[in-house]
């Protein structure tokens, strides 16, 4: 499903090179739930940007669903983001002047789906996160946990094979954070591949497979038999 092969991402800072990713290789199979864990500056965000097709690697290849996306241009990457990936952000990143339904519809708008079909799909996604009755509310009228569920619905709406969650619980209190994480686990059991980025070990401990990144390199990649609930 996701296959990174010897990925380098090098930024130039004046004369010196900064290796944000320094030869990273790993694979994620369909239906897996993977946590990428690292402290800030470890390269996990760069890794996330590359997996999320927001950026392309300096060298190395990245196969998503069998297609090499590491050499794609901006337009092709936009299409991949739209059809293959769903994003969940720490700050929810909902558009404040659009209501809940319109926010969830956005990826479908860019996919060019007709209005009535789009509404149907978006309502189905809101149904899954249990917020169908709030579809005409605006983001500011919802609690943080509800807003994050709306953003999950937005990621789900287009039924992408992979969901990328960047610190999805970072802005939430521990109780709602736990709810959101449980919800992601439920989605995973229903068949969605999920890659979660976090710096929080207590989150990572609840996820079966954990990839640790430090200084742009993978330092461990382990699959636990048991997960712990905190």
């Amino acid at each position: 499903m996701i296959e990174l092969k010897d990925i380098y991402k090098i930024y130039l800072d004046g004369d010196s090179e900064i290796h944000a990713l320094d030869g990273v290789s790993f694979q994620v199979e369909k239906g897996e739930f993977v946590a990428i864990v690292g402290s800030s500056g470890s390269g996990k965000s760069t890794c996330m940007n590359i997996i999320g097709c927001l950026d392309i690697p300096t060298s190395g290849s990245y196969y998503l669903n069998g297609t090499d996306v590491s050499t794609m241009n901006e337009k092709q990457l936009a299409t991949i983001r739209n059809r293959e990936l769903g994003f969940i952000f720490q700050q929810y990143n909902l558009i404040s002047k659009l209501n809940v339904l319109e926010n969830v519809e956005l990826p479908l708008v860019y996919r060019g789906i007709r209005h009535d079909k789009r509404k149907e799909m978006a309502m189905a996604a809101l149904e899954r996160v249990g917020l169908a009755d709030r579809h005409s509310k605006f983001p500011a009228q919802l609690s943080g946990g509800q807003q994050q569920r709306v953003s999950i619905a937005r990621a789900l709406a287009g039924e992408p094979p992979v969901i990328l969650a960047d610190e999805p619980t970072g802005a939430l209190d521990s109780k709602t954070g736990k709810e959101v994480l449980e919800f992601l686990k439920k989605l995973n059991r229903e068949g969605t591949t999920i890659v979660l980025i976090t710096h929080d070990n207590s989150i990572a401990a609840q996820i079966k497979r954990v990839v640790r990144i430090q200084d742009g390199k993978i330092i461990s990649d382990e699959v636990k038999e048991e997960t712990y609930e905190y």
């Binding site: 940007n49 999320g52 927001l54 950026d55 901006e74 337009k75 936009a78 299409t79 991949i80 983001r81 739209n82 059809r83 994003f87 952000f89 990143n93 909902l94 558009i95 002047k97 956005l106 990826p107 708008v109 860019y110 996919r111 060019g112 937005r154």
Partner: protein, 392 residues
């Protein structure tokens, strides 16, 4: 994302900050409105001038003589001789003496807008103006310097209020004149039109105007086709007298009309140019606010890009927003322009609202939207999604 969605989105965004949107549009509103008002006024003016010229007759040749000192002069009799010698080419001739500063008086009524012109008995043939009542001035009136006059319908209606004006007297600059005829209505019978006129024998007008040399003559060509020939005949004669073409000028209505059209055309260009500058300034205003809007919405752009918006989607969103702003401004400007054009009629200006001007002003405002929206939109579409998402 299709155009309809982009348009809905743009409207929503404009409604989101009404005051800002209105102020942004203001430049376009004023620009479009001023184009329409100015063009309407100039068109109205030129229309009035053209109809005045046309009411004077199409075969008309005007001669004005400046002279060049010395004892070279032309008399009315010599001019008449010209008509008699060339009956196939020239139809008729009348001297034209306008008496300046005329005040017409009858009882308590004073009029100062009236034009008073000294003419001869052939004037009716030259100008094609017939009397509707009474008679025109005669050869005898002219030769014996009778204080008789023929008046236009405006005078007939205003001075005599329903009474039969014939055989009544009126005073021109203090001299009494007897009304012998009323002219047919030529324009609309209003003040200042060519119906607000009084004709007197030119020999009398020479006295009134204290001017003994006749410096202006009107000829009519025998027909439309002989206008050029008639002008040649007159020109040759005057050249033989004055031996310089600077001493006189001979022109006909067609030329004068052309001059009027040229002049109003130039005026239109100048005024539209000035209004165009305000449209340009309005466009820059739109660009400015669009740039601010792109910056404010950097994060939104990042979100949209992460969800798979193509650069084209982002670009069209902002261009459509700019077009919507300028088009709504354009429509408001058209409404304001039409209202203001009608308002100017209160100042006794005649206006003619030009559909062309409305169409052009609207198209220009849309083009301004595209032009000045393009740069900010391009900027938005090029934003890096990672940096845009990180923007606060």
């Amino acid at each position: 994302m299709n155009i309809k969605q982009a348009f809905t989105l743009a409207l929503k965004s404009l409604m989101g900050s009404k005051m800002r949107s209105f102020l942004t549009m203001l430049g376009i509103i004023i620009g479009v409105a001023s184009v329409i008002v100015l063009v309407s006024i100039v068109q109205g003016m030129s229309d009035e001038m053209v109809s005045t010229f046309e009411s004077m007759g199409t075969n008309l040749i005007s001669v004005s003589i400046r002279g060049r000192g010395g004892n070279r002069t032309v008399t009315a009799d010599q001019m008449q001789q010209l008509v008699d010698d060339n009956p196939d080419v020239i139809g008729a001739m009348s001297p034209m003496i306008s008496v300046a500063g005329v005040i017409i008086k009858n009882g308590d009524t004073n009029l100062d807008s009236t034009t008073c012109t000294g003419v001869n008995e052939c004037y009716k043939d030259v100008k094609n103006s017939n009397v509707q009542a009474g008679r025109f001035l005669t050869y005898m009136d002219v030769e014996t310097k009778q204080n008789n006059c023929v008046i236009g319908t405006y005078l007939a209606n205003t001075l005599f209020e329903g009474e039969n004006p014939l055989e009544q007297t009126l005073k021109i600059n203090g001299y009494s004149f007897k009304v012998v005829g009323v002219l047919e209505e030529k324009q609309n019978g209003t003040e200042g039109s060519s119906d607000d006129t009084v004709l007197i024998p030119y020999t009398v007008a020479q006295k009134l105007a204290r001017m003994f040399m006749v410096s202006s003559y009107n000829f009519s060509a025998a027909s439309k086709d002989t206008v050029d020939q008639a002008m040649d005949v007159i020109d040759n004669f005057l050249l033989s007298v004055y031996s310089s073409s600077n001493a006189y000028s001979v022109y006909n209505q067609a030329e004068a009309l052309e001059q009027v059209n040229e002049m109003t055309g130039m005026m239109t260009m100048v005024l539209v140019g000035v209004a165009g500058i305000s449209l340009l300034v309005g466009g820059i205003g739109i660009m400015n606010i669009m740039l601010v809007s792109v910056t404010e919405r950097t994060r939104e752009i990042g979100i949209r890009k992460s969800l798979g918006a193509q650069p084209w989607d982002i670009m069209s969103q902002f261009v459509v927003e700019a077009i919507t702003t300028s088009a709504i401004g354009g429509i408001l400007g058209i409404l304001l322009g039409i209202a203001a054009s009608y308002a100017t009629t209160f100042f006794d200006l005649s206006v003619l609202i030009s559909m062309t001007a409305i169409f052009i002003a609207f198209s220009v405002s849309v083009v301004i939207g595209v032009t000045f929206g393009y740069f900010p939109a391009k900027k938005a579409s090029r934003l890096n999604p990672i940096e845009a998402l990180r923007y606060d």
